[in-house]
């Protein structure tokens, strides 16, 4: 009897220990998040001044200067990525949702899944071989293309899954009113799914805005304004990297400031996406 009682106490203790361990795991995982956010805020905020947002980087060794070209460059790169990636991704997703049961559809879906798992640095090499080598120069186009390829699988799958969630009753109502199939899909079904798709796109943009590796050998870097999209262009993540590994104190300071800007943007997009999802669910 005693044996059972003590094993019983032991089991209770194990149960409590495991619960505590799980809580501990959650805390342990979140500590780095808060540390990083704290450091970026504290170290970055000092570097955020008017010059940071408006000036070009000063030559090596000189103090001061800013990251205006990096900010604009990032906007341009992300813009290009959206231009290439969103229409293609959404329409491919529409195809998969509407006609995706065929063998071809399954191949496409498989390809999108494969693409989702490819490391971004490899995508950089791909675009380098495809675009940079033939054109013999680094360019914003190449960078935008690389980012578009990274965005593509996410946008495609999100569109497909959200379209599939739209109730068939809506489609039938539209068809019953004499609206053609294709119009029904685009104007009715897609529009209903649009908020969710937009949320997915926001998250994809947030991800792509922070990508560095593929840009290293596609859009490269530029200490000045890029005169066209056919030239190498600066970007926030690349700037952060370059400055962080440099030996200059001043550049470190600017790296933190740039990181603060980048993280703020990414955080904002993520929070906004979450809030939008919650509001949609609540209003249903």
């Amino acid at each position: 009897m005693n044996g059972i009682r003590s094993s019983y106490v032991y089991r209770r203790a194990v149960d409590r220990a495991v619960r505590a361990a799980c809580v501990l795991a959650a805390i342990v995982a979140l500590v780095p998040l808060f540390l990083v956010l704290y450091y970026v805020t504290v170290r970055g905020i000092g570097g955020l001044n008017w010059a940071f947002f408006t000036e070009l980087p000063k030559p090596v060794g000189e103090a001061g200067g800013g990251a205006a070209n990096a900010i604009v460059g990032s906007i341009q790169l992300v813009g290009l990525a959206c231009l290439f990636g969103i229409p293609l991704g959404v329409l491919a997703g529409v195809f998969l949702a509407e006609f995706g049961q065929s063998f071809f559809g399954r191949m496409v879906r498989f390809a999108a899944d494969v693409m989702a798992g490819v490391p971004s640095v490899t995508i950089g090499i791909f675009i380098y071989a495809l675009v940079v080598l033939p054109t013999k120069q680094f360019s914003a186009y190449a960078g935008g293309l690389a980012l578009a390829v990274i965005m593509l699988p996410t946008v495609t799958r999100t569109t497909e899954e959200l379209l599939k969630l739209v109730p068939e009753a809506l489609r039938e109502a539209a068809l019953g009113l004499g609206v053609p199939q294709w119009r029904t899909t685009l104007w009715v079904m897609l529009r209903t799914a649009a908020p969710g798709v937009a949320t997915g796109i926001m998250l994809a943009v947030a991800r792509v805005a922070g990508e560095t590796a593929p840009l290293l050998f596609t859009s490269f870097n530029n200490r000045f304004w890029a005169r066209g999209l056919n030239e190498p262009i600066s970007s926030l993540p690349v700037q952060i990297y370059t400055y962080a590994v440099s030996p200059y104190e001043d550049w470190h300071r600017q790296a933190w400031a740039a990181a603060l800007v980048l993280v703020s943007l990414v955080l904002f997009l993520n929070v906004a996406a979450r809030v939008l999802v919650r509001n949609r669910v609540r209003s249903r």
């Binding site: 059972i4 094993s7 209770r12």
Partner: protein, 290 residues
């Protein structure tokens, strides 16, 4: 609440399905000859006293008091949503496992308040068989039978002997003895349910709760389980929730009728089915609703 005559085990049951079906064809309210058993107060194994159960703010069980006599089968019947499953899940404190669910009132096992004991301990004395058979899919048949013991850290002296004994009790031994290592999922639905019952029996509980144990089974498997209940009742106290009135009439000595979270009537089964005291009971029995 009359607890006088306890109805005898439902006749001398034969194993043939023909018998079962012909019995089912009889009206559930047919009276049968029963020898008298022990008179007056049979021992009460488990008793619910003004039990209330809530899901969040919604009160689903509204103060039910019910005794469960020892070594007898008590059936709980009622229309869907009347709270039968919730009630029985309170008896082994599975109700509170659902987030936001709680219970109030008193439930005594012998004279122990189940809310004062550790639920883990309670569930060793009060076992449960679920509606849908749920043998652990990654364990063998033998593993399933012994799962409860293993979980509780009890090392039986003769595990194989114990497995054989319980499998014989549920009349599964002959069917599986050559394949004890097979997965629990390789059995038919009825066999799986009997395996789950064996798993419960291996714990040597005092009370067995059954939440619609046959509703996922075909008629032949159902008949087998009902025979089993009839056998088990000699050693265990059984509470069975069922939506099938004929089943209640076949297996239970006492029946309680629930309606919308309340106990409407509780009496010997034959009384409930032949001369119910409450109009609502009669309405339900005769099929006017539910």
């Amino acid at each position: 609440m009359m607890m006088g005559y306890s109805s005898a085990p439902i006749g001398a049951r034969e194993n043939s399905e023909k018998d079962v079906i012909s019995r089912e064809a009889q009206s559930p309210t047919a009276t049968r000859e029963r020898p008298q058993e022990e008179p007056a107060t049979a021992n009460v194994k488990m008793r619910a006293g003004d039990l209330r159960a809530f899901f969040g703010k919604a009160e689903v069980i509204k103060g039910i008091s019910l005794p469960f006599p020892e070594n007898k089968v008590t059936a709980i019947i009622g229309p869907s949503g009347c709270g039968k499953s919730t009630f029985i899940r309170c008896l082994n404190r599975m109700h509170e496992v659902v987030p936001g669910a709680r219970a109030a009132g008193e439930v005594l096992l012998d004279s122990d308040d189940i809310y004062a004991m550790d639920p883990v301990r309670l569930r060793r004395r009060v076992g449960m068989v679920f509606q849908k058979p749920n043998p652990f899919p990654t364990m063998s048949i033998r593993g399933n039978v012994l799962a409860g013991l293993k979980l509780n850290g009890i090392r039986p002296d003769d595990p194989d002997g114990l497995a054989e004994k319980t499998l014989r009790q549920v009349a599964l031994w002959d069917e599986v003895k050559d394949g004890l290592g097979r997965s629990g999922m390789s059995l038919s639905g009825g066999q799986q349910q009997r395996l789950c019952i064996a798993r419960t029996l291996a714990m040597e509980p005092e009370v067995i709760l059954m939440d619609e144990p046959c509703s996922a089974l075909d008629p032949i498997a159902t008949a087998r389980v009902e025979e089993l209940i009839h056998e088990l009742q000699k050693q265990y106290t059984i509470v069975i929730v069922t939506h099938n009135m004929q089943q209640a009439a076949r297996v239970a000595q006492y029946t309680a009728f629930f309606y919308m979270g309340e106990l409407v009537e509780h009496d010997e089964t034959n009384v409930i089915f032949t001369r119910p005291a409450q109009a609502r009971t009669e309405d339900y029995i005769t099929g006017r609703f539910g």
